[in-house]
Symmetry: C2
Subunit: 142 residues, 2 copies
DNA sequence: AGGTTATCACTTGTGTACGAATGAAATGTC
DNA sequence: GACATTTCATTCGTACACAAGTGATAACCT
């Protein structure tokens, strides 16, 4: 019998939401030990910009699953540090285009190997097969 | 070949951190559709208080994986709504004891069935077996 | 007892995360 | 062409999440 099938029982610790939150906490902590001066969302934004080159803010948000308000904060902080450069789209005046600066590009390339380490360390309690399974299952519920 | 073993390749979308974040986003969204007037952390605090009765703020934080600063915010908001009652420990004057009010108890009992629904809906893309596997793997990396 | 250390709570500052409202600009429709 | 709708970005407000620093109290230790 799994611990939560009995009527009237409910353990927060065993719920999917709680475990997701804890796993994420550990991952963020590991991330911070390897990449101290960038947060995971900031890193995701830079990594994605390296992939796609120039995009608008909203579009970038779509790519890395952040809503407009959140993306703005992340991009503003990156811009303030000179890692990202902003410019209005010439034709569509609503759009704010974002691209990496040289420094931003240099930084993300330098950090990519560490990102691999972070992923490895986060998944280190699991076998390679289990890690693969976890990724697939998480993707399904995303 | 998994998509990320090649040298020089790094897709943010496939990393464990990104997928954890997305899965959590979906779960929180589902939670909000079923329980509109309580956040997941608030719910966790109430549910845990129902389990353990009275505890100190810090201790509660330990039980639901929140640091002192975060717990304070959550408890303050619950107290402001009369769901939780605060009192200084008589002997140890540092400690701030927390327990459910009658209203808080009534509310959490009323909401527990919906919490089960939320868990089910979050895991609905998976078979029962896969859901179980996911829980186990997530627990291992927490 | 007296001094060191640990624990508890609080505060401040930074960084997500998102709903809701706003305004400007583009698109679609008749 | 005029009007409604959509899209893009911004702003405001609320709520986690955590590091770092502070003050009060308790526990430990010789």
């Amino acid at each position: 019998m799994s611990p939560d099938t009995a009527e009237g029982t409910y353990q927060v610790q065993g719920q999917i939401g709680f475990v997701l939150r804890k796993a994420n906490q550990r991952h963020v902590a590991i991330f911070a030990t390897h990449i101290a001066d960038l947060t995971p969302p900031q890193f995701a934004a830079l990594a994605k910009l390296r992939d796609v080159g120039e995009t608008s803010q909203n579009q970038l948000g779509g790519l890395i699953a952040m809503d407009a308000a959140t993306v703005k904060g992340v991009i503003d902080r990156l811009a303030a540090r000179g890692l990202v450069q902003l410019a209005k789209h010439e034709v569509d005046k609503r759009r704010l285009m974002v691209k990496l600066t040289d420094e931003g590009h240099r930084l993300i390339v330098e950090l990519l190997p560490r990102a691999r380490t972070i992923t490895e360390e986060t998944l280190s309690p699991l076998s390679a097969k289990d890690a693969e399974t976890l990724l697939q299952l998480l993707t399904k519920i995303s």
